[in-house]
Amino acid sequence: MPMKEIASWALNTAKSRGASFCDLRIVDERNRSLATKNGKVGHASAAETLGIGIRVIAEGAWGFAATDDMTRGSIERTAAQAVAIARSSATVKQYDVKLAAERPAVADWSGPCAINPFGTSVEDNIALLLAVDKELTSVKGVTLAEANLSFRRYEQWFYSSEGADIHQVRTTTGAGFAAYSFHGTEIQKRSFPNSFGGQFQNKGYELIGELKLVENARRIGEEAVALHSAPQCPQGVGTIVLDSSQLGLQIHESVGHPIELDRVLGMEANFAGTSFLTLDKLRKLKYGTELVNVVADATPAHGPGLGTFAYDDEGVAAQCTPIISNGLFTGYLSSRDTAAMIGQERSGGTMRAEGWSRLPIIRMTNVSILPGEKPLTFEDLVRDTDDGLYMQTNRSWSIDDKRYNFQFGCEIGWEIKGGKLGRMVKNPSYSGITTEFWNSMDAICSRDQWTLWGTPNCGKGQPMQTMGTGHGAAPARFRNVEIGSAYKGS
């Protein structure tokens, strides 16, 4: 059955029931997930899900209903249910929903995928993970080795009562590993190439070769063990250099979330929280130093990030929105209704849903800090640092519900003395206030040091939705930072 015909059942029903607007997404999703632990397969699964989510406006209020039953009767019932839900929403409202105008698009787009990951053999996938495992467990002192691999194919058909007709296919690949070492009264952990399961991008199996998992396994295992003998991270105020993955998470928490316009407008107050970035701060707040340039870029030109697409889940074309321009706060992440609320002409195109059964909400696309314009390698940056700490790979992350006070812990740290990397330190952590922190950044490495990281596990919304977001970053230096904060008073 053509998807367009299925969509017409919903669109016609919504209209006949009195909806002033309707859009819908039919999603066909496929996943493979494999993991090994200490020389054995720990997890091996495949999954597929297909369904339709229908969103309507009736009597000036939103309604949404979703079903896995793709028969005509079910879809018409579900569309009618969405309208009935919208009418119940309309009984408790202070305003009517208005949408920023958007020209309905007709498009067909597929993200990059040179090697179809689902075409690779499970046997080979497991062999790769076990090869990593073997390297990790060959290191004396590694007490637990874990490696994982996951693939996702996400195909979506979007239609709206305004005439949009958009078909998109995205393929996501991810992989990583971790080594644990338990000794005495301490559990240490090292992950590669990042925590949270490693690196994830919207591309095919070609990513796996780029990650060089086996080649890095022994070193990571050795670092996990060596941390037991390393001195504790000192406490005090000083200079830190963050690796690009940690800076990616720093951006996620202290830039990406506070710029979500639904948070700013109070719509997430009960769960995810609000934002310190009230509307009066737009184009007035000095968010960071002149070196701080952040964009929210969903366009394929930015790279195969987890926030890359051609159209968002409201049918708005992918855009690059300047968020921080030479340190000045210049933009929010918006949707069609929140854009209209603040008088913005057009949505920034950031609405995404976890799957067919969830309502699209504002999500980070690829919120990335741009690399420095002058050539600066990581080695140059260290050479230019007299006294500081280099921190790698996130271990803990926490920020308040307005996204102002944060504290991060990393898996490993290294002293920088006289322009050289020195001793390893364990349990490094730092804390700060968002704007003070970004106003202390005085160096960032250039494009050749920049990585577009994937954060696969961003939680937001009620019911909770997990979404992948992209964050490009290069190693950067921050001055006068509170270091060792996690161990204050202990």
């Binding site: 054995k40 899900t49 369904g51 949404f64 079903t67 952990k189 992350w397 009620q462």
Partner: protein, 462 residues
């Protein structure tokens, strides 16, 4: 809706397609609806219906799972083929247990009833009426309300080729409310399988009172304070330790209980059970293999007594050098659906209150405190250090200074860095355990607690 007969028919279809030595089918799903409000307006309002069929095949020590939400024969045939294909290419795992036999499933007479018409029949109009009442209370107090009112009606079945059948139906209703003032907020949340137990207006009144009382918050220096943690704050903290009570976690040496089982780790007043049949608990009385969940005494008077075990983990532990150091090793029915790396976890925690007559209300705890902090709710808690169970996080939505036995106004929010072990050594008073719900951990039955020397390390600017 899914029922036992329908589940049996689906299983028979799957079995028809399977060539594996053994096959297990998990069928789950139902209806879920959530009405979300903010700025005194319903701004999101959703409903979904979805069921999954998750098939696990076993070929001589090799297993894998494939899941679909389509129940036509072709989809089920494909799912079986996927599971079998992934199973076949693995090396046999001697630790993989054969499928559980029917004698391990809970009897129907032993399964608590957690399906209530009051929740199953909630309509969008019912939820909107509830939200309307909450918003009216907000307006009466010059506040704005944000939150949710949700309901669900779901079922879960596990069947396998050994003849095991386990089936559970459950409903749920939940309300969470944040009342916002100009510079303050208050929060309340409650859920139950029985919608009649959920009182949106009472929750709204309490949240509104907290928002009003915490207006014009002041900043006090961070440091070690006596804190009174309401039940939601208690559960969000202690929730970080229960995955460490898995036998597999101890075998993997990633548990903070390694080398600590049988020792006094917490205060004498700390006793914790896992008990799915507790009257205030929820969830299915069987685990991911369909095995009956048994009550387990995890901590008694501060001493860590036992761990929980899936079937395979129990066998591994019995053969391990750790076997003599970890209390009673037995199948407790806490396994996750296989295959998985984590093994199991206790998910029906009941933290016992004090002896009869010694429980204190939050008001009594405040009255007995010369200087301290009353905490409604915590936020963004993360583990900083796994063996000492050092946690960081923030206070949120109703943090109060306590002086001379009285609330002395709202406080700007604190960041804490606190060892959970130390916290449970420093509990000075507790209330009656209640069913509580937070945001960082699963629901539990826990009391409010008064804790000395809680370590606040920073204060934020609001």
């Amino acid at each position: 809706m899914l029922n036992k007969d329908k589940a049996q028919r689906i299983f028979e279809t799957v079995r028809k397609f399977a060539t594996a030595d053994e096959v297990e089918v998990l069928i789950a799903g139902g209806k879920y609806a959530l009405t979300r409000f903010a700025n005194n307006t319903i701004h999101q309002n959703v409903a979904e219906e979805n069921y999954i069929c998750s098939i696990r095949t076993v070929f001589g020590g090799r297993t894998a799972r494939s899941t679909t939400n389509k129940f036509d024969e072709e989809s089920l045939r494909r799912a079986v083929a996927d599971a079998e294909a992934i199973s076949r290419v693995q090396q046999p795992d001697a630790d993989l247990a054969p499928l559980a036999g029917p004698e391990l499933a809970p009897k129907e007479s032993d399964s608590p009833s957690r399906h209530f018409e009051s929740a199953a029949k909630l309509t969008p109009e019912d939820r909107a009426r509830g939200v309307h009442g909450i918003v009216e209370i907000a307006k009466q107090n010059d506040l704005t309300a944000a939150g949710i009112f949700s309901s669900s009606d779901s079922a879960e079945a596990i069947l396998n080729s050994k003849g095991l059948v386990a089936f559970h139906q459950q409903t749920s209703a939940e309300v969470s409310i944040t009342m916002l003032g100009a510079d303050s907020s208050g929060w309340q949340k409650f859920n139950s399988p029985d919608a009649a137990q959920v009182k949106p207006l009472e929750l709204a009144q309490t949240a509104a009172r907290k928002a009003k009382q915490s207006a014009a918050p002041r900043s006090v220096e961070p440091g070690k304070y006596t804190v009174i943690l309401e039940p939601a704050a208690v559960l969000d903290l202690i929730g970080f330790m229960f995955y460490d009570f898995a036998g597999q976690s101890v075998l993997d040496e990633r548990s903070f209980l390694n080398n600590r089982i049988g020792k006094t780790l917490f205060g004498e007043n700390i006793t914790i059970h896992d008990d799915v049949r507790h009257a205030l608990q929820s969830g299915a009385p069987f685990d991911g293999e369909g095995v009956r969940r048994e009550p387990v005494e995890l901590v008694k008077n501060g001493v860590v007594k036992n761990l929980v075990y899936a079937r395979a983990t129990a066998e591994k532990m019995k053969k391990s050098p750790l076997a003599s150091q970890v209390g009673e090793v037995r199948v407790t029915g806490h396994g996750f659906a296989l295959p998985n790396e984590m093994g199991e976890a206790p998910m029906n925690i009941v933290l016992a209150g004090p002896a009869a007559g010694h429980a204190k209300t939050v008001d009594e705890m405040v009255a007995s405190t010369e200087r301290g902090v009353l905490v409604t709710r915590l936020w963004y808690i993360r583990e900083v250090e796994p063996y000492e169970k050092m946690l960081t996080g923030m206070t949120r939505d109703g943090t109060f200074l306590v002086e001379n036995g009285k609330l002395a106004g709202g406080l700007r929010n604190f960041r804490f860095n606190q060892s959970l072990i130390e916290m449970l050594l420093n509990v000075e008073a507790m209330g009656e355990p209640v069913r509580a719900s937070g945001e960082e951990a699963f629901d539990m039955v826990v009391p409010a607690m008064k804790v000395k020397e809680f370590n606040f390390t920073e204060v934020t600017k609001f």
